[in-house]
Amino acid sequence: MAVKEKKIGFAKRLPSSAVFSIASTVGALLFTSFILWMAGAQPGLTFEKILAGAFGDSVKIANGLVVWVPLSLTAGALIITFTAGLWNLGIEGQIMLGAIAATGTLRVLQNSLLSPVLIILFACLMGMVGGALWAALTGILRLFGGVSEIFAGVGLNFVATALSLWLIFDPWKRPGVGSMSGTEPFDERLWLATIPGYRLSLWSLVLVVVVFIGLFILLKKTRFGIQIKAIGKNLEAARLMGIQTRKQMMAAMLLCGGLAGLAGALQVVAVYHRLIPSISSGYGFLAMLVAMLANNNLMLALLVAYLFAILNIGGIQLPIVLHLDSTLSGVLQTALVLFFLIMNGVKQHLTERKERNRHAE
């Protein structure tokens, strides 16, 4: 799927990449069908209902896009760090901090005389700053403290969760009550305008397009992009080539955190209009799967994010019409990635064997 065709002669006789992609998709579908069969459900019907639930009408399609926006933003963000060879598992916390910073900004400015547009813009900006600062913490721990970004990130996710719960139940609680439903919703004028009749905001769609064009330019057309690619592939060599590896890795973390924070801020201004306990919605981890399945390819990430969004939205139908649990969507999503990794391994294995045979001739 994403794998670039190598220009090496011996690869030619191997089945093309498409074959492996199809094989991994079929594998994931078969696996999920098996799980469905174990749960006593009809696989065909189930998949049909998921699709109907995602494309049944324009509202559903729009709802899919509502999920797609933060998911693709976060996946795009992760592709930056993945390219730089950083497993930014702290992404969930970065989304949360973005949401927290945006909420804080809105709380401060909601009664001011600024125009709502400015307030929203400022909230998004502060969201980016919040996410970036949280990412910076991971970056500093990794680059100056020698703490793997994996563990620093996971730890900081917990801290971020606790922080948001504390804010919701304590300093930012609704008048008189701390509620799981989150902080007091903001005034409607501070909501990001949506298309009438839909939950979808055109602005967030535009934002995704702009961000991805920006990411494409950043990663493919700028020195920074090619430098972090080099860092991701060979840190030491990149350093010896005179690339300022620390600075660029930190920049990658900050950019990623900033975009994740933006996704979190959008959840506040465009979807929930307040801070809720699990504001990150697990998008960070889901986006990680998206980026893996897309093999860090931006265009593919947009598609895969859409596929995953569809599965999330379509999965809602399962309890309604089939009395099944919606986590099936998650099973299918993760199975897709697992089988992709497996087929990737098989492909590499076959490639190597071909190569060996070639030399033996």
């Binding site: 799980i35 174990m38 749960a39 497993w87 598992l89 721990l141 100056f144 403290g145 020698g146 703490v147 793997s148 994996i150 563990f151 620093a152 996971v154 730890g155 900081l156 996710n157 917990f158 801290v159 969760t161 606790a162 922080l163 719960l165 504390w166 304590d170 981890f285 990680m288 799967l289 893996m292 099944l324 649990d325 986590t327 099936l328 998650g330 099973v331 999503q333 993760t334 199975a335 990635v337 697992l338 990794l341 497996i342 990737n344 391994g345 098989v346 590499q348 294995h349």
Partner: protein, 330 residues
């Protein structure tokens, strides 16, 4: 009052049991140089699977066995994808973590709120009469005894047996171990499976003992696995310290509830998340020895002392040198 505290501490030891076992399992895996990030998923899936099997068979042992088998199976998948297919340990581990979690919720839906057998404490004769130790350690469930037993066993296994030496060597320098005739892949397969099986045992310890029953995402187990990973690091890959980390974690949770009313100024989340900043600080501290500024500090020392600090210092809490790094032999 005195006995209150003792009983409370005994409770801490009991509730830390699955974490101790899982973290020791993860320690074994990581000692071989394999990073298993799927712990969280394994615990959930085996908690559900163990409960379901125990419910169906009305047999406790079958449930625990199922948990172990589920863990071993996930370990096998991880090992196959990383050791045979050479995929990234981080990627595969993460995917398995999420896959197992979703599977446990999906498949476990039919087992919500049911009642299966529960493991009770088995007071040890004589030993439980001991003044303080008796009520702390010897009035517990079999699984808690097992967790206590795991600590010295793992310690002895890793440090004092030939097999443990093989394990350490594979995690330290696989190419050298290979040259000594050790089948690195086999060892890594083995410890990934065994370690994951131990992690898998932690699941049913919850659902068949500590927190009986399966309640889907309300079971309150989602996240334990990440804590286990943190504790493995916190403990510096030493089963004794790993266990201490697990006890510290549960102790903090317990203190959080005991002192809730007294410490009304402290947000209740503080003690709960404290282990994570602690883990990070530990890592910073351990890694300080590898950092440039520390290096330049000790390099002022005369060579023998310098060597002492730069190597001896790293010896204790250092990660296995090849952790997470794939090995391919020719």
């Amino acid at each position: 009052m005195q006995s209150d505290v003792l009983v409370g501490l005994a409770g801490v030891i009991a509730s830390a049991a699955p974490i101790v076992i899982a973290a020791i399992g993860e320690t074994l895996t990581e000692k071989s140089g394999m990073l298993n990030l799927s712990v969280n998923g394994i615990i959930l899936l085996s908690a559900m699977g163990g409960f379901a099997v125990s419910y169906r068979t009305d047999n406790l042992a079958a449930g625990y066995l199922a948990g172990i088998l589920i863990g071993a199976l996930i370990g096998l998948i991880l090992a196959f994808c990383t050791l045979t297919l050479y995929q990234s340990q981080v990627a595969v581990g993460l995917v398995l973590a999420f896959l197992c979690r979703d599977l446990s919720y999906f498949l476990g839906n039919g087992f919500m709120g049911l009642t299966a057998p529960v493991m009770h404490s088995a007071t040890l004769p004589f030993l439980s009469e001991l003044p303080v130790l008796g009520s702390l350690f010897f009035d517990q469930t079999v699984m808690t005894y097992l967790s206590l037993l795991c600590i010295p066993t793992a310690l002895v296994w890793i440090n004092h047996t030939r097999y443990g030496l093989v394990l350490r060597s594979v995690g330290e320098r696989p190419e050298a171990a290979f040259a000594r005739g050790i089948d690195v892949k086999k060892v890594r397969y083995l410890y990934t499976i065994v370690g994951s099986a131990l992690v898998g045992l932690a699941g049913p310890i919850y659902t068949l003992g500590l927190k009986p029953g399966w309640k889907g995402s309300m079971t309150g187990l989602d996240g334990i696995g990440w804590i286990v990973l943190a504790i493995t690091i916190f403990g510096g890959w030493n089963s004794f310290r790993v266990a201490l980390g697990a006890y510290l974690f549960e102790l903090l949770r317990w203190l959080g509830l005991v002192y809730q009313a007294q410490w009304s100024g402290v947000p209740s989340q503080v003690l709960q998340v404290a282990p994570f900043p602690l883990m990070i600080l530990t890592l910073v501290f351990v890694n300080m020895k590898n950092s440039e500024w520390f290096e330049s500090l000790i390099s002022l020392l005369p060579p023998p002392l310098y060597r002492f600090f730069s190597l001896k210092g790293k010896r204790n809490k250092a990660a296995p040198s090849s952790l997470g790094i794939p090995f391919r032999n020719v």
